[in-house]
Symmetry: C2
Subunit: 190 residues, 2 copies
């Protein structure tokens, strides 16, 4: 997606070897017009998949997910990170390890909002090591729903997430695919 | 907002004396078409206020805020809840006490995304005791920005938040105002 790549070049900040900060327009400050275009791009890619529901994780996944939901006219469910030690009743749950923060989050979804046979599109802001998507796949399995694919705003292709999801046979559509960071600049896959 | 009141009657669940669960369409599962209408309603109410930026708190505020941002064509910033004990540099921060959870969250915004003189609209999903809005007002003060008003999806008028914000002279627009819960039913202000 050209508009997104241009925006990453303009407002993204590369920190070290593998971190890209896009907090100016995607996951702290949000540009709603860009997100509308992102949602429309996801909808176009998955329009033939008879999506029933979109699934994401709080907080950074919510904005791209709701705009994809708007374009596809389907409900969006965001998994909540559970901070308490006790688990409420009636939830699907999974552990998500964050390599960046080196912490494990327990994410959960109320069972009322995901049911057997529902065709689910996963949306997230970043694909790096793939742990968030794998956690959502676990939840989709528990609910006996069907994972149709994953729509990712920014993929870091040099990390292992894409390979992991390919191995599970999940179709992945990333709107910007980053091959490498070189001298503080972003190199996209061509 | 008639459409919202109808939806609360249909899909909201009253628990005890003062809790309304709207996780079926607002803050866990989200109906994007309803949220689009909510965003448009906020934009209409504040269209003459020359809003520069919308401010909210993760996670439940994000969806109504981005749709208001879409309708007003302005950036949206969501305050992050800071879980670590150390505070990063260059942030505005405030404490937000939650009466429901009886915990204090430290919320923060990168100083790059809120500056002196900016005209800010606060958006949130609920107004109950008003602590989240007061925290955002503190941050707006620190940044020497201008709080133009608050747009609230659902206000529980019988709790003290509205009074608190009226006393501070902040214009508050709530799309649904709940007067009381009676026998598990919602009574709206007329």
């Amino acid at each position: 997606m050209k508009q997104l790549e241009e925006r990453i070049k303009k407002d993204g900040r590369v920190l070290g070897d593998d971190i890209l900060k896009v907090d100016a327009f995607l996951n702290h400050q949000i540009d709603p017009d860009l997100l509308l275009a992102i949602g429309a791009a996801f909808a176009q890619q998955f329009q033939d998949e008879r999506i029933d529901k979109i699934l994401t994780v709080e907080s950074s996944g919510i904005a791209p997910a709701v705009f994809a939901g708007l374009a596809l006219h389907v409900p969006v469910v965001f998994a909540r990170k559970n901070k308490s030690l006790t688990l409420p009743d009636g939830v699907w749950t999974a552990d998500v390890y964050s390599y960046t923060k080196q912490t494990t989050n327990h994410v959960m979804i109320d069972q009322r909002f995901l049911g057997a046979g529902e065709r689910v599109l996963i949306i997230d802001d970043f694909l790096a090591n793939g742990q968030a998507v794998v956690g959502l796949l676990d939840i989709i399995d528990q609910a006996q729903a069907v994972a149709v694919g994953a729509g990712i705003v920014i993929e870091k292709s040099f990390q292992k997430g894409r390979q992991l999801l390919d191995a599970r046979g999940l179709p992945v559509v990333s709107l910007a695919r980053i091959k490498a960071f070189r001298d503080g600049q972003v190199e996209f896959e061509s």
